[in-house]
Symmetry: C2
Subunit: 476 residues, 2 copies
Amino acid sequence: MKLPEKETEFLKWYSEVISYANIVDNRSPVKGANVLMPYGYSIWESIRNKLDAELKKTGHKNAYFPLFIPEDYLKRESEHFKGFIPEVAWVTHAGDRKLDRKLALRPTSETIMYEMFHLWIRSHVDLPFKINQFCNIIRFDTKETKPLLRDREFLWSEGHTCHATAEEAEEQVKESMVIYENVYREACMSFLILRRPKYDTFAGAIYSIAYDSPLPDGRTLQIGTTHNLGQGFSKAFDITFQDKDKQNRNVHQTCYGLSTRLVAAIIGLHGDEKGLIIPPFIAPIQIVIIPIYKKDNKDEVIEAAEQILKVLQKAGLRVELDKREGYTPGWKFNEWEVRGVPIRLEIGPKDIQKEQVVLVRRDNREKAFVPMKDAAKKSKTILKNMHKSLQKRADKLLKDSISHPKDYEELKEIQKTKRGFCRANWCGDEACGEKVKDDTGADIRGTREDIKEEPDGNCIICGKKAKEMVYIAPAY
Amino acid sequence: MKLPEKETEFLKWYSEVISYANIVDNRSPVKGANVLMPYGYSIWESIRNKLDAELKKTGHKNAYFPLFIPEDYLKRESEHFKGFIPEVAWVTHAGDRKLDRKLALRPTSETIMYEMFHLWIRSHVDLPFKINQFCNIIRFDTKETKPLLRDREFLWSEGHTCHATAEEAEEQVKESMVIYENVYREACMSFLILRRPKYDTFAGAIYSIAYDSPLPDGRTLQIGTTHNLGQGFSKAFDITFQDKDKQNRNVHQTCYGLSTRLVAAIIGLHGDEKGLIIPPFIAPIQIVIIPIYKKDNKDEVIEAAEQILKVLQKAGLRVELDKREGYTPGWKFNEWEVRGVPIRLEIGPKDIQKEQVVLVRRDNREKAFVPMKDAAKKSKTILKNMHKSLQKRADKLLKDSISHPKDYEELKEIQKTKRGFCRANWCGDEACGEKVKDDTGADIRGTREDIKEEPDGNCIICGKKAKEMVYIAPAY
């Protein structure tokens, strides 16, 4: 098996690797609603578990709201409705009965949740109010679908919060950024935190912050968003509370989402010519044990492998022993490399004699001969080192993906070749955003939210006075 | 707050208690698609976690399949299609575009999964093959909806397995029974394991086993099912494998499901006149700490309460400290009783002086004065005892719910008064099943699967020779 080159033919590489590694099966009968296979799902489970823990630690409570949203709920906040209506799937019948009113399948849950928040929130003691929901989301995007990158059905976490003051909502935006960063760092991701231009803000929000991760082909992928909703929804849905001074006030709201798309970003960012590389702390399988034997020493080797399995599991590691018959060790090496398992542990009769095992690190293929008794300790060290090294590589990839064009010609040239982010001055006009999109296919992705950057010249597109320093990149 | 009497007005009691205890909010705009509130959801999360662990331990892998199922997939197995078609919700439009073909929302996932199994399974080494999915399910039942008892959208786990032989499929049915029993026992449930009559078998299965739990009003609730699917689906979907002898054979299949309905059963079985009683091992909050103070000793009491909170949490207990201002201790006692938290820990200035805390057990209101340093240890003992005692009470409730009528008159009388299960001889004719349903509202729920019982007389309904000893009860 030879994969297409990742840098030059990324989508081909991606599509083959998610198939070989059993991440997604896109032979599902409904375009854009794919099957997340066990191995792919288990990566999402790791992310989900980490996110769940972070959300609970910060006082979020999980709940579940209906999939169905009546049309008039969606319409309540007009910008929101306009934003989502072209993508909404509608249920019109049940059995052979026509429904009295058609029902939307949630493209996001603001409207169905906020109608309940209106009923639940009464007083300032109910605030801050933080809800999270893990669920499926339906968006019949008219653009071409791509497994995990752009699906018509996907899984996500959506956080929704209510606060007494605008300041507290601002603080919540920051808290969500920390939560998401903690999740991303667990997966060794690199990303820019960008405040989107006004015209690219979430339908119904004051401003939107997005996490953009670079992919090897020079495009970026939005791997999460946080929105400050202000009081727009809270007024449309009449979510009020009695404040300490007995006055009724509208709450200030935020919401944020992180989806199975992150799995695509992890695959795209870390993989190599051999297949996936799964970051050690989110890897469903951290170590795979491959026993190497002939007929006459099989029992002995399997027994030793099983003993090591137990020792490693007891040390809290996620380990699998590949005892499958009818496959050569070489075939197994390949398969587990494609699937990106961080450490391969080889054990054969010679190793048993020497009381050692062989540990092979997935990303740099470093081979270590380790005394059996140190296998768990040494594995943990390797996983930690690999985690650091993947993070370093990802950070470098992000850094390298940022260019500093001095003029529009250079920007166009960059977007024709290596692409990635162009850091440049912008006047703030949507027209310039449209122009650069037409000329290069790249979007104005926004201004840095994590650090303060000022414009230092004129708009790179129109030459007028710049208002912001922005990052321009083509996106999935 | 006074609840309706549970035994005589169960549905009223149930409907009030799930509202007071913040389990479900049924003010959602779509009938039968309710909001699982944070506290209700957290009970489902406990069950889900336990079930997830049991499934993983037995080699099941989680995955995610599309919500959408094309009509021709549903039709592939004709009995299955007939069984579900009246309840299926259909998506016909996306945005303002009419879809080329309407899409069903999964009422269960056999058809969409098995089309994939057909592609995935090749050889005997792929077997046994065990998949689980946690997801939302849509059934537009025409019967009246009741929160958690009968919803149009609910959450569940569905296990689906493939095997080389009929014997292995039989074994899998047994394994699923053990898995579900382990989950139910964690929730101190009592239930009968019944093989449903032929005419009440899952659409497409050879036979169905169901777990029926008694409710206080004499009705029973099906809290889970296991189906032996034989080769019906496997032939309809062409799921074959190459066996060791190089022959291609169809797999033998099983499937099983457990839903949020179990939360309703837990509430119904264990609750009392004060509200919920959540079994200790699945309780999202096992201990609630209520600080009792006046203005002048508030700081001291809160500090002590926070210290105990830390100690108990460190001991691995799920604890919440209720510091809310503006509520009296008495009000808080009531609220946490309604919510069924197993232990209330009271701490006031006198307790601090005596270096003690007060532990009050939810189910029997036993009060214990415990040295502060023993709080964690003693709490664990109380939780264990409460678990045992709830199980004992549930087992007695089940036993008491089984009657042994000697003739049809007595059966009718029982079903008019206490109801519950009538253990009786049955000829096996569906006509008798219909008659007893018409006369009493009770269904023939099936024969015991966990123990072997033989008929010992004639059919209690028609007087002909009996073929089976069955359990007859009205159901939700």
